[in-house]
Amino acid sequence: MDKILRINMGSEGGPQASEEPLGDYAGLGGRAMTSAIVAKEVPPLCHPLGKNNKLVIAPGMLSGSNTAQSGRASVGCKSPLTGGIKEANAGGQGSQVMARLGYAAVVLEGKPKDDTLYKVVINKDGVAITPDNSLKMLGNYDLIDKINAEYGDKVACISIGQAGEMKMAAATVAFTDMEQRPTRHAGRGGVGAVMGAKGVKVIVLDDADMPTRSPKDPEKFKEANKAFVAGLKKHPITGEGLPGFGTNVLTNVINEAGALPTHNFQTGRFEGAGKISGEAQSEIMTSRGGKVSKGCHKGCVIRCSGIYNDKDGNFLTKRPEYETVWAHGGNCGIDDMDAIAMLDRMDDDYGLDTIEMGATIGVVMEAGLAKFGDAEAAINLLKEVGQGTPLGRILGSGAAVTGKVFGVERVPVVKGQALPAYDPRPVQGIGVTYATTPMGADHTAGYAVTANVLGVGGNVDPLKPEGQIELSRNLQIATAAIDATGFCLFIAFAILDQADTFQAMLDLISAFSGQELTADGVTALGKKILTDERDFNARAGFTKEHDRLPEFFQNEPLPPHNATFTVKDEDLDQVFNW
């Protein structure tokens, strides 16, 4: 990973690829790389779909090696949804393969002269950019079938569906999984629309004959990897909970806490939660010959994904994740697991963010376009998006735009991006992160790496109100750093509880890079990323007034606990005061 591939889609005479050394970006990976490039090279006031925006795809620092759990890629740009900086990340095979091809980043720049659609093929011999209008308006599944027929089933693909081509603000960038299915998505913020604006339908990555990236200190690396894997396997969340039930293990628990946003955030409990829980989902998957546990890329040992078959035992989609089940389920009052799985499949095929689409459908249900609980209506609404009808174009622009168009007051967004699956009234600390992250409401922005393990931000007294601010700050710092490594964020639980696993992770990175990494180093990396991102947003016109939750969270008590969001604005303003 010692070079950057730049593809200028707007060059005279057609798209041009060039390689360059890492320069100022040496040592960066994942979110650290995408945010550094965007912050430095993209004019903050540019139009997100214009020639000056850039789409940066960067494997994590350890991707392409034998490090367990290190196959996440980051996709960054100025977001068409939020207008601020965006990093969305995804699993799948793309990160590993891109890293083995030697690229620390692939950057799509400029704007094509016309609406020709391009295919980019990267292999050991170089880069080919060819026009291919036969791919126009294909869904991700048909597209990948076509690519596999031409390039075989060992390649990894990064692609957009119809939503990306139509430059919808809820469009994703899809990454193929180990079975060549486009099931893993850099979902948030409309990154797919930027890829569509660059005129690139698919990037085909072929790492045949390329070696696995090797560590600087192989012995230490082997030992650390062994300890790291053992730590993941022995922990009840990473070793048992996630492989057994997927992330949807959360549905029952969040519902019991009264924090499952239901009927467009009107209540915190959903009567049908038990029917769409991870437990119920696993039973359905097992009874239909699906797979309860599998990885989304080679080297995943947690394996939170799975195969969800339809009633006839045929593949329908991967195991729908908690956020998807919430967005299309409880948030829309739908308790039919098959309907939710179908919506997940359609989102993956059109290339749409499941969180944004579930929130958007919830908003139009509140507006009266369909009844809460009407699964068929939800499927039809999503079809409108895929077909690009006028209504579909509105919905595909996300919850904020849709709420405006239909005159809905209760629109759950921050910086234009829909809130994920945890209501911030009963669990206020999460609301602090939703409000303040530079990404717009994002549940992964402040994840579970304990402040005490990392030793960042001094000693937090969690019982004091200001503790929430410090916790959110520390979590955001730690998350940003992990996003740079390429590790799946789910390693966080084992690290949270097991100091030896955290040390094993540091040892892994040190042994791989040859440079000693300490907890302080992790903190510095996280702060640097957040500083870049906030600086970009400030130059794009964001102020502290954008770091707020919508008013209804303060005004509307959420049943059953009737909690409101009570964290003060001046406290929110202290989150990045380090």
């Binding site: 996630l242 057994g244 628990v253 019991e256 991870g278 999460i430 509880d497």
Partner: protein, 234 residues
């Protein structure tokens, strides 16, 4: 009996079996006779593979007859017979009436309470809801505060919900002893059961009389509470 200090889930399941065998005389729960007039007692004998199918029902809640007015530790350890290690290490997420419990020595179980038991959960929300975790302050509005002990401990009932790994580990024992279920949930469950369900169901009895397995999904139980036992074939 105490479980080993080292926490090994598989060993734990075996040990729990022993716990239940050895402590069932202490275990107050799920005794059909405690109810004056049980409307219906349904006994099922099923293939072992079918047992997990019932966990969804257990996650939606079942009624247990216990002594109430005591602390949660008293309930879990003395009445339900769970070991201190299991409680400490596995029951990382506990809700009493929808509020996250941090201290099982101060939370008091009252008549009619709903108690949900879960393993540790992923995500920031999962970490936040964990018992006494570093992020407990992030959900102070829904934390279960210290409650006053009752003057006397008396017979009562509570709704118990078992989630995820806890359902897997404790479910078979609860099902074997029997659980009180709402007729509506049971009816919905039997009507929606996959085809494989009937194949794995070996015998059924209603109020002590043999029952045709094919008629299970046609029984009208909408308004009743049913005492259900589920045992695996030997």
């Amino acid at each position: 009996m105490e479980l080993p200090i080292t926490f090994c889930p598989r060993a734990l399941i075996r040990k729990l079996d022993d716990v239940f065998k050895n402590t069932c005389n202490k275990v107050y729960v799920m005794n059909a006779e405690l109810e004056n007039d049980p409307k219906a007692v349904l006994s099922l004998t099923v293939e072992e593979e079918l047992i997990p199918t019932f966990y969804v029902l257990l996650s939606q809640g079942f009624t247990v007859k216990v002594r109430v007015g005591c602390t949660m530790r008293e309930l879990l350890q003395r009445q339900l017979g769970l070991s201190a290690d299991y409680i400490e290490q596995r029951l990382q997420t506990i809700f009493l009436d929808g509020k996250a419990v941090d201290n099982i020595d101060t939370a008091v179980v009252r008549n009619g309470s709903t108690l949900a038991l879960s393993a540790a959960m992923p995500g920031l929300a999962g970490a936040t809801l964990r018992r006494g975790g570093a992020y407990a302050s992030m959900r102070s509005q829904i934390s279960h505060g210290k409650s006053k002990l009752s003057d006397h401990i008396k017979e009562g009932e509570l709704v118990l919900k078992l989630f995820n790994l806890v359902a897997r580990e404790l479910g078979p024992m609860f099902l074997a002893k029997g659980v009180w279920l709402k007729g509506k949930s049971l009816q919905g469950f039997l009507q929606k059961a996959p085809d494989s369900f009937r194949g794995g169901c070996r015998a059924a009895e209603l109020n002590g009389q043999p029952l045709d397995i094919d008629s299970l999904d046609k029984l009208e139980w909408d308004q009743q509470e049913i005492f259900v036992t589920v045992k695996k074939t030997l």
